[in-house]
């Protein structure tokens, strides 16, 4: 059993939990994920590792309750336990294995959409702890959906907040913000790491391709085992089939077939999940902008 030692409500049905899982805490790195199975009858729910404390043996998860299972998860309280908590799964962020001099020379922009801010956090923290300064954009539809700004500021050189309705920070979506930084504020970047809803990652990738900036995205297809055994998580990257749980979850955004992944993401979802996805994806296919904003 894996005990929840801390629970915190962040915003907009987004919760943070620290879970006691010493084996995972000991060996995990930014970019990886866990699978949580709440009880005997629960499904296996993949969630990104958002922070970890190797001494205390805890792993932080941040999840948004969007459907049947994550709703139940939100009802778990401090002191209660999950039946199963396995990880770390997937590959760690490529940044961790890069040569220090090469990494030092790179200007990196992290782009976080909605609950995607949580998985961006440990990467930014790792960068600062290892002596690299990075910029971060946190975007959402409105100010109520923006999370972890103060936490992010501890580790990032610059944090840019943007909202579609202008209720907080820059008015516009994350792509408008990227364009503003690059075109109006004289910024230039060698790498973008974008994590958020598929539709956001898709449009960020289209923009950065135009701008000629290499882009990494974190894919979150439907998973079952998370160890390469079922193939549920397959996606197409550069014309090749990959299993996100073992080959990813991070991939080159300019090579991912987002449209296929968006269709596959619809395959299993409860009614609540359907509503949330509709909100995320909205009409954005037509106006071509990034309707990012998470939820």
């Amino acid at each position: 059993m894996f005990k929840i030692v801390k629970k915190q409500y962040l915003a907009n049905n987004i919760y943070l939990m620290d879970v006691l899982a010493p084996r995972v805490a000991k060996s995990c790195f930014p970019g990886q994920f866990v699978i949580v199975k709440m009880d005997e009858k629960g499904e296996r729910i993949p969630l990104t590792i958002c922070d970890y404390d190797r001494q205390a043996g805890t792993v932080t998860i941040v999840f948004q309750s969007v459907g049947a299972s994550t709703k139940i998860m939100a009802e778990y309280e401090e002191g209660e336990s999950f039946r199963d908590f396995v990880g770390p799964l997937g590959c760690r962020s490529e940044l961790i294995d890069e040569e220090p001099e090469e990494l030092k020379a790179k200007k990196i922009l992290f782009v976080a959409g909605g609950v995607g801010t949580a998985p961006v956090y440990p990467q930014v923290k790792w960068m600062k702890e290892n002596g690299y300064d990075v910029d971060v954009i946190i975007g959402a539809r409105n100010k109520d959906l923006i999370i972890l700004v103060e936490e992010m500021k501890q580790w990032a050189e610059n944090v840019y907040v943007c909202t579609d309705d202008g209720s907080l920070g820059f008015k516009g979506n994350v792509n408008d913000q990227i364009k503003d930084l690059v075109n109006n504020q004289g910024k230039s970047y060698d790498l973008v790491v974008a994590i958020g809803p598929l539709i956001m990652m898709k449009f960020v990738s289209i923009l950065t391709k135009e701008l000629g900036i290499k882009t990494i995205v974190s894919m979150n297809p439907v998973m079952v085992d998370g160890t390469g055994m079922c193939g549920a998580c397959r996606l197409t990257v550069g014309g090749k089939v990959k299993f996100a749980c073992v080959d990813g979850p991070e991939f080159d955004g300019h090579l991912v077939d987002f449209d296929e992944s968006m269709k596959r993401q619809q395959m299993y979802k409860t009614e609540e999940g359907r509503e949330v996805l509709k909100l995320q994806e909205g009409d954005t296919h037509h106006h071509g902008g990034c309707g990012c904003g998470g939820n």
Binding site: D84, L89, T227, V246
Partner: protein, 462 residues
């Protein structure tokens, strides 16, 4: 009742029309009277050929002799010397090509039902609370076993009996390997059979730590250097599914057999009270002709679908067990033989709407003497289906080999190990089962686990 020595005592089964709608076990097994009658058919051969057909060399005439006398407890003790999972093997071993294929009775009539007798003995022992004997004391030497399938369970059980302190590390949340996630409930009941065989292994003192992915949560080198294990057995199976690489294969409604079966068996999607969903499908095509394909097809049938098996060779080439093919036909599975998929047809929402196939004919025998199928020109046509299940085989997952220094694999990613003792290229690391051979059988995996347990003992005594 007079027993016709040429004929087997028939085994009771659920009626096909009834069982096609439930997940309960198809074969009901012998009762004691039937088992004792069947046992009288055994000639108690001095030079018993059946033993040679069994990969773990069970003393078949001896245990059958005890069944004939009605001393089932003793029969169980005999089998237990050789096999840790008799209730499983009695059910899923391909007996027709192993022990029973060698039985003297089979020359003139039907071979003795060795598998059904083994199953009866194991079930009787369970129902009567008989457990294998645990060792009195441990020797304090720790051995790690990776994977809780038949190879790992057998290796762990044998080492525990010899006094070692064994911990099994399992990546999934439930022990059993393919026995838990792959083979369906209607062939191998999870609670009554699999869980209780695992309990037996635990009662020998074996610890099972689930939710540990070796290569991710920790590594073999860490187990050896930091966690105090003196040797490691790798029984991680061959779990990586293959796909065909034809157009449309990533459409919604295309699954690997592993995904389909895992959702239904391990995650119990057929039971409404479990949270994991499954798209059962209305009209399902299962591509492939092995045991796994039969299991996927019969599962889809039970979830309410019309099911087609699409296989590129003919009936006699089907790699599945004869009994499984027979059961599948009785239940109403449609066999589209000598048919090969070319493309999956996808509708505009990204869902499967059909499968384009081509007819095949068997060509001239190749170098190996096998007639390989060739396409019949102009025979392409579309079968309307909404679900496609790919059952084309599996290969070992590279997760362990790629994270363990000095562990050699062959070009199929199979770990290289000595058949006699399981030794790998890395000192202190042993391997066996599907991880070494590629997808094979339960009993071969058990045999490899047994050989490795001996190899590990010898290694640790040095």
């Amino acid at each position: 009742m007079a027993v016709d020595v040429l004929k087997r005592i028939p085994v009771r089964e659920q009626e096909p029309q009834v069982r096609a709608k439930n997940f309960e076990e198809v074969c009901l097994g012998y009762n004691q009277e039937e088992a004792m009658d069947e046992a009288t058919r055994c000639l108690q051969c001095k030079n018993a050929k059946c033993i040679q057909g069994c990969p773990v060399s069970i003393d078949i005439p001896s245990f059958i002799g005890k069944v004939k006398e009605g001393d089932i407890a003793e029969a169980y003790q005999i089998i237990s010397k050789y096999s840790a999972l008799p209730a499983v093997c009695g059910r899923v071993c391909p007996q027709e090509s192993q022990c029973e294929s060698k039985c003297i009775r089979g020359i003139k009539g039907e071979p003795v039902s060795i598998g059904k007798l083994e199953r009866f003995v194991a079930d009787w022992a369970r129902e009567n609370g008989i457990k294998p004997n645990a060792p009195e004391a441990t020797n304090g030497i720790k051995v790690a076993v990776i994977g809780s399938g038949p190879a790992g369970l057998t290796c762990a059980g044998d080492l525990a009996k010899a006094g070692y302190e064994v911990t099994i590390f399992e990546a999934l949340h439930e022990a059993g390997g393919v026995l838990s996630y792959g083979i369906p409930e209607f062939r191998l009941p999870k609670q009554t059979v699999v869980a209780s065989e695992i309990e037996n292994v635990k009662s020998l003192g074996v610890k099972i730590e689930t939710n540990v992915v070796i290569g991710k949560s920790t590594t073999i080198d860490e187990l050896l250097q930091e966690e105090g294990f003196s040797a490691v057995f790798v029984g991680s199976g061959a779990g990586l599914p293959k796909f065909m690489n034809i157009p449309g294969e990533n459409a919604n409604g295309v699954f690997s057999a592993n995904e389909y079966l895992t959702r239904n068996n391990l995650m119990k999607a057929f039971d409404e009270s479990y949270a994991t969903p499954i798209k059962g499908g209305n009209k399902v095509a299962v591509v492939g002709g092995g045991n796994v394909a039969m299991d996927a097809a019969r599962t889809a049938l039970r979830l309410g679908a019309e099911v087609h098996i699409i296989y590129r060779r003919g009936e006699s080439e089907l790699p599945a067990r004869v009994e499984e093919v027979h059961h599948a036909k009785e239940e109403g599975i449609i066999f589209d033989l000598l048919t090969n998929p070319k493309e999956i047809i996808v509708n505009e929402d990204g869902w499967v709407s059909g499968i384009k196939v081509v007819d095949m004919e068997l060509g001239e025998p190749d170098a190996s003497g096998r007639r390989s199928p060739v396409e019949k020109a102009g025979s392409e046509h579309i079968i309307d289906v909404d679900t496609v299940i790919m059952s084309l085989g599996t290969s070992p997952n590279p997760l362990i080999s790629s994270t363990t220094d000095g562990l050699e694999v062959n070009k199929w990613q199979c770990i290289m190990a000595d058949e006699a003792n399981g030794a790998t290229s890395k000192e202190g690391v042993f391997a066996g089962g599907d991880a070494v051979t590629g997808a094979a059988t339960v009993i071969l995996a058990m045999g490899a686990g047994k050989a490795a347990a001996k190899g590990i003992e010898e290694f640790l005594k040095k």
